[in-house]
Amino acid sequence: MFRKVFYVLCAIALVIGLWGLYVRLTTGHSEANYGSYVVWGLWVAMYLFFAGVAAGGFMVATLDLLFNLEVFKGTGKIALWGSLVSLAAAMLIIWLDLGHMSRIWKVYLQGNPSSVMFQMVWGYSLFGLTTAAALFLAIRKPGSVGLKIVMVFGLVLSIFVSGAVGALLGVQAARPFWHVGLFPVQFPVFSLASGVAMMLVMLGFFAPKNDPNRQQQLWILSISSVVLLLVKLYFMWADYSQSIYGNVPMNVQAVNEVLFGSRWWAFWILQILVGSIIPIIFLVQPKLAKQGKIAGWMGVLLLIGYAVARGLIIFPALSIPELDLLVQSFTGPHLTFLYFPSAMEWAITLGAIGLATLGVLLGSQYLPLFPDSAAEA
């Protein structure tokens, strides 16, 4: 019944996503609400989110497939599958964000290696191949030396690509809100936190209940989630408080935009209340955290909070004019610092989420991702 509900929701999301795709392919970017000032919108934020989940999922998979932790035995393949599916969603959504989708091959064959974006695209492409190879080996040759080597390589890559995402933003001296040395350090931690949250969902909703280690796995993942969440909140506090103390106008404006601006509700309600406080309350209680459905839903809330957090990194920095009075100097479509995603943007995002969720559902049901190949009915 639970799966059927998810299948129906996925179907609805995919239909909506197909409509968004139709609009995107027939009208280009004209129906998007991002513009020449807020140039990156919901799709870039979701790319950061999905890419982070992908990297984090791989990190969690190493607990079983590289470090052979007994308590996590049998969780590696589902973690890799979640990583792969999430990466596919990330690549799809960022591909649709390009002005010329058909030119994506140029990044591979005519790329500029000094660009952090080039490094990130290559890194994630290599990471995707590594994840697929690891999953293949984990299914066909579990415990093999080849699998260990691939897992080591993949772990290093997952940290590198996560850091690259942070560096993508951090190298921008034009954006003081991003130009923080801590960004390449924070993002691997965010990725790990996202991967752990994803595992709560995977194991809580889609894994067989007959695994004797399941409750212990959920408990460890819950505590890890809480710790990583607190670390993330600490990073955020350090960043925001230093910005306000330093009093660089562009920086302070961006922080105020997050805390008290038009998106205050996204920060305080979605990221803090829904994505942090509520999960902490539930996950620190072992009786609740060890229940699959509760752990799964807390994983969903955590993921919502992390997705919103990515958006609140992207949008505020771009909402602050580089030059005062710029917006009044020339008016026209897409020349505004106000941004809320358009219907097309939401539709595509929903479609990508639906596709990723469908991938998880089908994989957990039809692929040998669990020790006894018996997916939850």
Binding site: G28, G99, Q110
Partner: protein
């Protein structure tokens, strides 16, 4: 000569033509007198004051040129004779002269056939002070054409780069439209072409302004970078590309000044080769009141402002 003719020659001309001729003569004489001296009644005790006699308007010559544009064109002629790598194009904008008319903005839109939502040279307007001590300041903002551009290293496909003239260009056939360069620019000098049309969703009428001619103008080719690119459909370049000021490179290559420079009604914008010590821009950037935007970022803009 008959008596009639002699009298006609010596007597005052009483015809209407004669009246007008005399009137002009009196007026002319009065004009000459007026412009030559100002006389006072004898009873005033004041002496007449000599005034400047201006027969025709001749603008003051500066360095041998009657208009700064003429001097800039002469500078250009010398510059384009040099190899491109030896030129150092700079733009100097005298903020004391800029009146905020936005003629440069419009000239740029017209020259480069810019669609809605794409702007290369907006003019920032700022009101300073409080009444009664209030003033307005105008700051045109083209692309700074930085010596150390933060926008070029971030491009994942090398579509934007500094060409041999030192101008930061965008290869419309290479650009994938990721917009990373836009986030990197501290001057918001780049905009993205979203494929908008002025005539979209408008009723088609007969006539020039709202008839098919307007749409035909919109889809006609622009000639940026010396390439004829018609604007068609929703996806063909430059739609989906990042676009920016390029100092009207297609005009420079023909020895012409950028459109904004030629159009400026206040002669506030100067353009030339800073490697030419005799050029007007070389003199201006040596002024003590010169400044550049956001110098602390180390971008080394090639656009200077006189304040």
């Amino acid at each position: 000569m008959s008596i009639v003719e002699e009298e006609a020659k010596t007597a005052p001309d009483s015809s209407r033509r004669g009246f007008l001729r005399n009137l002009a003569g009196v007026a002319g004489a009065a004009a000459v007198i007026t412009t030559a001296t100002r006389k006072f009644p004898p009873s005033s005790g004041k002496e007449s004051i000599p005034l400047a006699v201006v027969k025709t308007y001749e603008p003051p010559m500066v360095d041998g040129f009657s208009d700064p544009l003429e001097r800039m064109r002469a500078d250009m002629a010398r510059a384009i004779d040099k190899p491109a790598a030896e030129r150092h194009w700079v733009m100097v904008i005298d903020l004391r002269k800029c009146v905020g008319c936005n003629a440069c903005t419009i000239a740029c839109v017209a020259e480069n056939h810019l669609p809605p939502g794409v702007v290369y040279r907006p003019v920032l307007e700022e009101e300073i002070g409080t009444f009664p001590n209030v003033t307005r300041r105008f700051l045109p903002r083209p692309c700074m054409q930085c010596e150390n551009p933060p926008c070029t290293p971030v491009c994942p496909v090398g579509a934007t780069y500094k060409d041999e003239n030192g101008i930061i260009v965008v290869d419309y056939d290479q650009c994938i439209g990721c917009r990373y360069c836009i986030t990197a620019c501290p001057y918001a000098a780049r905009t993205f072409d979203f494929g908008e049309y002025y005539t979209a969703n408008r009723p088609e009428e007969s006539g020039v302004m709202v008839g098919p001619a307007a749409e035909q103008y919109e889809t006609a080719a622009n000639h940026e970078y010396g390439e004829a690119r018609p604007r068609e459909g929703e996806h063909g370049s430059p739609i989906g590309n990042v676009r920016k000021c390029h100092f009207c490179l297609h005009r420079l290559e023909k020895g012409m000044l950028p459109a904004c420079t030629s159009t400026c009604i206040g002669r506030a914008t100067y353009f030339g080769d800073a490697n030419d010590p005799d050029g007007v821009v070389s003199e201006l950037i040596a002024s003590p009141n010169v400044m550049r935007l956001k110098e602390e970022l180390g971008t080394e803009p090639r656009v200077y402002y006189l304040t």
